[in-house]
Symmetry: C2
Subunit: 326 residues, 2 copies
Amino acid sequence: MKAFLRSFFFLLFIFPLNLLAQDPLPSWNEGATKQSIIDFVKAVTTEGSADFVPIPERIAIFDNDGTLWSEQPLYFQFLFAVDQVKVLAPKHPEWKTKEPFKSVLAGSMKGALAGGEKSLLAIMMATHAGMTTDVFNASVKEWIESAQHPKFKKLYTECVFQPMLEVLTYLRANGFKTFIVSGGDIDFMRVWAERVYGIPPEQIVGTKMKLKYQVVDGVPSLLRTPALSLLDDKEGKPVGIHEHIGRIPIAAFGNSDGDFQMLEYTTSASGKRLGLIVHHDDADREFAYDRQSKIGTLNKGLDEGPKRGWIIISMKNDWKKIFSFE
Amino acid sequence: MKAFLRSFFFLLFIFPLNLLAQDPLPSWNEGATKQSIIDFVKAVTTEGSADFVPIPERIAIFDNDGTLWSEQPLYFQFLFAVDQVKVLAPKHPEWKTKEPFKSVLAGSMKGALAGGEKSLLAIMMATHAGMTTDVFNASVKEWIESAQHPKFKKLYTECVFQPMLEVLTYLRANGFKTFIVSGGDIDFMRVWAERVYGIPPEQIVGTKMKLKYQVVDGVPSLLRTPALSLLDDKEGKPVGIHEHIGRIPIAAFGNSDGDFQMLEYTTSASGKRLGLIVHHDDADREFAYDRQSKIGTLNKGLDEGPKRGWIIISMKNDWKKIFSFE
């Protein structure tokens, strides 16, 4: 009987109070940054409020590299490309003597990138074009399920930011549709993003190769040709947003100057808007870089962002936890 | 008391039975075509069934012109372009003497199209490029809310097929996401498709102009440049599907040979698939045309479709009602 009474009181008093007090963003430290996200969501979801936004217009967009997962020491997709050169090498005997492939196969990233952008493009095209989408997707799947991050010694899909996963869940619980808008290859992300972020393929916007429809022996497929349909970075991001989403999002999360135009496009429109920039300032738990970094350069955004009302998220101060494996 | 008892019996026996017997497709005549749609939906939504498809993969695609609304005597978007030439003429004095504009302004469609594809392209580019997406959308909105169909004397958005609206609702009630995949301009459709079909902008795939992001006096906008990013017709449709949706739909509805590849791509994949072609064979209630028509040519689909298991919908025999205004 005592146990029953205890359960009864627990259910009556403790449980509901606990529910009411449930924190939607437990990995965020209390403070202005966390509060600004919660205040925004309350404003746009409160019926009768001047800032109320109907559910179909609750669109939030997220950059991927450096915003939802890490991007150091190199963009993970480039690390995939390097590994792919090794996988494909037996089919390309000429790579043994041809740069940048020769250096990649010898394990020298410095030599591989000596040729600058041209070398980078050669590596990307050799590993991202000339095959069907099915073959490409299978190679991404195999890699993402086995390759490990050099610093964290974890699968790349474990190097996602726990506080951002909470933001995705919190927004969706409040009627938002969440999209990725990334400079990364659209299909590279689609292979694992639904499982890791809960974002389905049709809500992923990224850099796209021109595709060619072909039917071989009665079997249709799409060939990834070595030409870009869209470079979804900088000025390309608002283009990708309009092409895929067709209306202006009300919230945007980025981390580098590659996200500047996406934040500008989102926050310049009328009505309540939210723009945020993840600042990588935690060398102990992740990496610290901004103005001088070649990967994820954040310079203009640090200066102009605050003037435009964008919130700078300090990973060091605002995030209690960065990765779930900590 | 008698009234109460009557209500009680009504609620207990009549109401539930009525609900169970409710016809999801009331504008469809009973028969094999209607049954094939219902059987497909039952098969993919019955848990434990060999054909069961989880909700995120329940993607259905619909061509627009000739499938969801009429396309005769000319594609409605082309009729918009013709009206737009008249609206824009004051800003283009040179059109008074320059074909195909001279003929359009004189009301001669025959003269306007005498130059074939080149004339058509000139009219489309003059009315669909060189302005921002906002300006273009506003011109579509004004037109679609006022212009009338020459035969039906109704707004174009009233010339939508009631049986197809029922299919859209029926599929969505069964966990499907419905997409348009059309040769029409993506933004032309987005202006009114959410209101008319319940399909939001992010679920519309269409022909796309290359966009250019620009910031004028601090205001961002997207310029529609006179170049195509994607011609979403024939071989372009599977490309548009992959770009925007990222997985193969399980059901596709089309009406012309422009939809052949989209039907082929959808129905060739493994697992239960549904392909349907709307055949315009009702000259009394709508229009009758197929193999010989320049608009909405249906030739290959009529021959090959049935061999591939695609269902040919006879508007005359399968549809009780074509338009809601009948």
